[in-house]
Amino acid sequence: MNVTLGTLVAVCGVVALAAQAPQTPAAPSPQQPSEIQLVISGEPGTPPRYAVPDFVALSPDVADAAKTLGQVLWEDLNFEREFYMIPRDTYTTIPVARTAEEVPFNAWRELGADAVVFGTVQKVDANTVRVQVRLFNVRSRQSVFAKEYTGSATTARLYAHTISDEIHQQQRALRGVARTKLTFASDRNREKVAGPVQNRDVKEVYIADYDGENQRRVTTNRQLNITPVWAPDARGIAYTSYRRGYPDIFIALIYQGIQETPTNGVGQNWLPVFSPDGTRICFTSNRDGNPELYVMNRDGSNVRRITNNPAIDTTPTWSPNGTQISFVSDRGGTPQIYIMGADGLNLRRITQNESWADRPTWAPAPFNEIAFSARTGPGFDIKVYDLASGTTRQITFGEGSNESPAFSPNGRHLAFASSRNGGRYEIYTMARDGKNVKQITRDGSNYTPSWSN
């Protein structure tokens, strides 16, 4: 269990009531003690239809949490599009079950549900709640998933996210992203940089839950802080900061309040990106007089230059196994996407027909793809290059300018910055086919998202 709670304080003591040995007091015992089919399927050729009603508040003062749990769990399960989620406003005719024994399977069946969630919330003491949840196969009336969580009374969304991830794992062997976070740069504080030049907007690093909730400021230095990227452990954020008057790389350990400065003023350094194992950072630096790519250990030691070309080399991304780096170079006259080994050898160019391509981001396995932004007119659109076939598909189509794609850790979604809504850049997420676009930020202008593990 990697419930990444960090400063959210709530320590989810997860007491697994073992999905393999579900408590199924309600259903009449099957005639044979046969093996329980854990995976709920739908009608042939269609995804299973899920219903997630409000959780039941077993204490009077957790009614809001009970409602939030149901709503957020529905949205989390809907996000991966593995299930058909029956809209919650159609449940009004279904009798409300107060206990697992009362779940009205016939009514759910009439609504077309293949699976229904039954959950409860109960206050244990002033600051602690206990959340219990079961997933029932409506046809067999068997509980195929049963878990109990306890922790802070204020983190209802986190229980829902945890349940969603576990259901996706159990039912679909899918790594859900409900507990992941986004980081991005924002000027929403509307502060101005102090200094000799007037009227320059401060940008600070922010984080948000994957669904845009709980947006929080990470940096507070009132300078330019841009291009944040998550460390693979989702506890650190490396970013480019101008707090010393020039771009340099900083790492914020957000749950410890510690700042690391791995490059520490050797030249000017920007656009850091962690290797998939978190031990190394690739970045752009002008320390030898020209924008080139370097790799260093996370602590700043063992710096190695991996490009050597009078043109610009910048914007690196690591392959999922850490052996290759994709980056941008204008050595051919315009910014294009290239791939090379992490040692700088075996260079090849992968974009051929773009006038300007930038911000490659390598999809995690099993997707063998690199997303990037490409100039398609006055603005940019997100495209995805398939390494196996060498083909490129476009997934945004001229709605504003679309830049800085970042894959979710399961590779099924991308976050990106777009000016589609009124000209200001905001962070959006979309599925890897370009569908299900969802706006994440609405305050100020927001740029360069990165998606945590």
Binding site: P196, V197, P247, T284, T314, R359
Partner: protein, 188 residues
Amino acid sequence: MRRPITIFLVLLTCAGACAKKQPPLGPQPAPPPAATAPVAPPAPGAPPPQRVEESVPVPAISEDSIGNRTLDDLNRNSPLQPAFFGLDSFELDDAGRAVVASNAEILKKYPTWMVTVEGHCDERGTAEYNLALGERRAVAVKTYLVALGISPDRLRTVSYGKEFPFDAAHSESAWSKNRRAHFVITSK
């Protein structure tokens, strides 16, 4: 516009005051015509009153008009002009070189000034690549300044990519102003 009128009033007031006083000791030049003119409304139909103005030297148009200004003031109203670049380009064109050359003359005049050359880009490029493009613009200007005899020790470069547009509008005119090398005087 206000100054001549003020001076005129001051002189009139002085004229009245002087008329009631003993002339100061020592030889005096003849009183100026204004001092002897009658202070009375002109008769109807008379020619308009004679304009009386004194040329006042501007206090300090010496080299110190620049040298005496504070850093903040200098940067707000900088004697160092920005150099502009073509789309996606980091090469100085003739106009850009002329601006940099004129800035170099000023830097030679004030040899203690330290300057940061900022490279900026318009919003039509991507945020990431523009950080490098702005770097190349700043370095192009620095290289030319050094070729013109400015010590590299006095020059720093920094790229802000497209983070700090000079003109936030989304037009050709704004973009052409935003593709620039901006000079910031950091000490003097």
